[in-house]
């Protein structure tokens, strides 16, 4: 087992941020580095969420593949937002949205402390 990495900063106690998707809309959230995100689909339609590249959801960067509400796959697994040495200590805004492009988009802002 390794030793703690030098640098960085004391993380806060990690929590899971549950982001509801309802009526095709996604809330923007602000989280602390080390926190996780779980998307919960409350709509009858399945959704695929992808990180943006050049202003569009990138099909090669799928964040979640959600089944319809009330199915075993309606919630995503945990995705953790990890800060590592070399990254900016300023907040970083991640844009993502639904595939196909043109539907809902949202942001996750990750920062040292919420």
């Amino acid at each position: 087992m390794g030793k703690p990495k030098k640098g960085g900063f004391p993380p806060s106690e990690p929590i899971v941020n549950y982001i509801a998707i309802k009526n095709g809309a996604i809330d923007n959230v602000t989280i602390a580095w080390g926190d996780s995100v779980v998307w919960t689909n409350q709509d009858p339609e399945p959704y695929k969420l992808a990180q943006f590249t050049s202003g569009q959801p990138d099909p090669t960067k799928i964040w979640a593949d959600l089944g319809p509400v009330n199915t075993d796959s309606a919630n995503s697994a945990e995705m953790v937002f990890v800060w590592s040495p070399g990254m900016s200590k300023d907040p970083i805004v991640y844009e993502y949205g639904m595939l196909p492009p043109g539907t809902a988009k949202a942001t996750i802002t990750a920062q040292i402390k919420v």
């Binding site: 087992m1 106690e13 549950y18 602000t30 996780s36 779980v38 964040w63 697994a77 953790v80």
Partner: protein, 650 residues
């Protein structure tokens, strides 16, 4: 933050009155006094948290007890999920966070039976269950967890849980695989830690799965009475053990989700009373009335995983240990009073491997972050009377290094019973702690705690009258015959010696393992032992970064020797040896020049009596257990047919 994260719960029935309002209500009910009637002690560094979170210095609130009636304890326990507000002090100081947690909703299975919890918004243990040796125990467990309330589990291609990062890189499971990986977060069962009952059927059976949304399982066993006196004289008969009366506990034990469920708080006190308690009460009248049950937990929502290889896990970071869900509560005593405090370390990670000592407030403030001062200042005197729920022998009670010591250490799963005598004048002190563990694994919470104490003690009012006194060397209760180890009894001859190496797998996962193998529910990770035999075991730790608290179900053991290669001096243990059911195996020492590893080790001996069947041994740092540091134990009765191997999690 999304609007869903606050005040959501599966029942849609939760409410979140303020912590103070709840405490005021509880005290008014329990004591017949209002909060305004009481002195309001404050913590040393109390800050202003949100109104519905625990505040440092709040009055100590006992967990509700369910007691056996007419020699039977019957409880309905339902596992649910809800959003709770959890106070802690971690990397960035005081925090009060909303967390979706699994918890026990319980009710006595009698008409009009009491319920627990009283406030859904507060974290903490399940109800305290209290009974007596010889009593029947019936626990009806129902799993009412709603998978849609939590993140998806088992979604990795190999059936383990999946965790990715923002770059879509897979952090987990890496090379972990079933059955020893994090999985089935919402499946559960119950372990009665410290009980001596059958591990099969409806006993202390951790091989069952209780699945959501409405799976159920009934536990039904009778706690053994002390064996008859003939036990110690008729060597031709098999030796019998009784149930040690003492401070035990219950907790979830589904392999693959034990760490997460205990991190969520799924544990509670399981207090078994017996002759030892009667003897103490005779020596110190009124002791039972003021007794305190203190369940220590580190509450968290998710297990932190550092990508590998090798993958490191550090559970919920390094939050300040809570007591019954409270942050640094205040216990009140009268000058000169003696109380019995039962500590249960219901945590699941190394960061709670701590040494505790009472210090006066001034001495604590002056020494904070350093060694305990030689002068504790205004502090109570303590006497340890039990370890892991088994009473100390008189020799150990009078031992300067054990019962008379003013410090005590608990690894995850350990229990300690102490008698606390307040100073004869009013004043304030804290139960301070020091880290015993090394630096946390890479990516885990650095040790940045600033408030290194568990609780406050406030001594006020008139001195107790008549004066109270500790038991003496002459009148301390003798050890019952069945808890003695008569070296001349042929049944105590150790027939076999085993060595278990706590290390890592040699495969790509490099998981926590025993003898190089992650638990696989096959014979290569099973210990076969004949019923009615005694054995001596050597437990070696090859990790230099962590202790491994060894725990075995059903039968307690005696600790004969502890070797810590990182210590400058070794503790010499003497007979009669203490009984334990969990012992921290010290970390190894690696010579950086040669690469040679000197393992820490513990030598134990145990009698495998009374109950054939299948149970487990494992490390009680529970993310280690979930990932493979566990083995099955099969106790075989040579006089009967071979016990069929139970399917894992039937």
């Amino acid at each position: 933050m999304n609007s869903e994260s606050n005040a959501l719960n599966e029942d849609n029935a939760g409410y979140a009155p303020s912590r103070r309002r709840f405490i005021a209500s509880a005290l008014t009910t329990a004591l017949g006094v209002s909060i305004a009637d009481m002195v309001q002690p404050r913590g040393l560094w109390a800050q202003a948290p949100p109104s519905n979170c625990s505040q440092a210095g709040d009055p100590f609130v006992p967990v509700r007890e369910f007691r056996s009636k007419n020699k039977k304890l019957a409880v309905n326990m339902t596992v649910k999920g809800t959003t709770k507000t959890v106070a802690t002090i971690a990397g960035q100081g005081y925090q009060c966070k909303s967390m979706r947690l699994r918890y026990y909703a319980a009710q006595e299975a009698v008409p009009g039976g009491a319920k627990w919890p009283e406030n859904l918004a507060l974290p903490g243990p399940g109800p305290t269950l209290r009974m007596r040796v010889g009593d029947e125990v019936e626990i009806n467990l129902v799993n009412a967890l709603q998978a849609s309330f939590f993140g998806r589990t088992n979604s990795a291609p190999n059936g383990c849980n999946l965790k990715t990062n923002q770059n879509s890189q897979v952090i987990y499971p890496g090379n972990d695989n079933l059955p020893s990986c994090f999985h089935e977060d919402n499946v559960t069962n119950l372990h009665y830690h410290g009980t001596h009952v059958t591990p099969d059927g409806h006993g202390d059976n951790v091989m069952v799965d209780v699945k959501p949304p409405d799976g159920s399982y009934q536990t039904l066993f009778t706690l053994p009475l002390p064996p008859p006196a003939a036990n110690s004289t008729d060597f031709a008969q098999p030796f019998m053990m009784g149930q040690a009366p003492g401070t035990h506990w219950y907790h979830a034990h589904k392999h693959g989700s034990v760490a997460l469920q205990l991190l969520n708080g799924m544990a509670g006190a399981f207090i078994i009373q017996g002759e030892f308690d009667d003897q103490l009460e005779a020596l110190i009248p009124g002791l039972a009335e003021t007794e305190k049950v203190l369940v220590i937990q580190q509450i968290g929502e998710t297990i932190t995983i550092q990508p590998g290889p090798p993958i490191n896990t550090c559970a919920g970071g390094d939050p300040l240990p809570l007591v019954n869900g409270q942050l640094q509560p205040t216990i009140e005593m009268k000058p000169g009073e003696i109380q019995r405090w039962r500590f249960i370390n219901a945590t699941m990670q190394q960061t709670s491997y701590l040494t505790y000592r009472f210090l006066g407030v001034d001495e604590y403030t002056a020494s904070k972050g350093g060694s305990f001062p030689s002068n504790a200042g205004y502090a109570p005197v303590i006497r340890q009377i039990a370890y892991d729920g088994v009473q100390l022998a008189p020799e150990r009670y009078n031992d300067p290094d054990c019962g008379q010591a003013q410090e005590f250490t608990m690894a995850p799963a350990n229990r300690i019973d102490i008698l606390v005598q307040a100073p004869t004048t009013p004043g304030k002190s804290v139960l301070a702690f020091q880290y015993l563990h090394g630096a946390p694994p890479a990516g885990c919470q650095p040790r940045t705690l600033v408030d290194l104490f568990l609780l406050n003690l406030n001594v006020s009012g008139s001195p107790v009258s008549p004066a109270m006194n500790f038991p003496t060397a002459a009148n301390y209760p003798a050890m019952p015959g069945w808890l003695q180890w008569n070296e001349s009894d042929p049944r105590n001859k150790t027939l076999k010696c085993r060595t278990l190496k706590f290390n890592n797998t040699a495969d790509a996962s490099a998981r926590p393992a025993i003898d190089g193998l992650a638990y696989d529910h096959k014979p290569d990770t099973t210990q076969y032992i004949n019923l009615n035999t005694a054995e001596e075991w050597l437990l070696q730790n090859y990790w230099d970064s962590s202790i491994h608290p060894f725990h075995i179900h059903v039968n307690p053991f005696q600790v004969l020797e502890i070797f810590d290669p990182n210590a400058s001096t070794q503790v010499t243990l003497q007979a009669p040896y203490n009984w334990r059911d969990t012992i921290a195996i010290p970390a190894s020492k690696t010579d950086l020049a040669t690469g040679k590893i000197t393992p820490g080790y513990v030598r134990i001996r145990s009698r495998f009596v009374d109950f054939p069947g299948t149970f487990v041994l494992h490390c009680h740092i529970l993310d280690h257990e979930d990932r493979g540091m566990m083995q099955e134990v099969q106790i075989l009765d040579p006089k009967s047919k071979v016990v069929p191997m139970l399917p894992m999690h039937e």
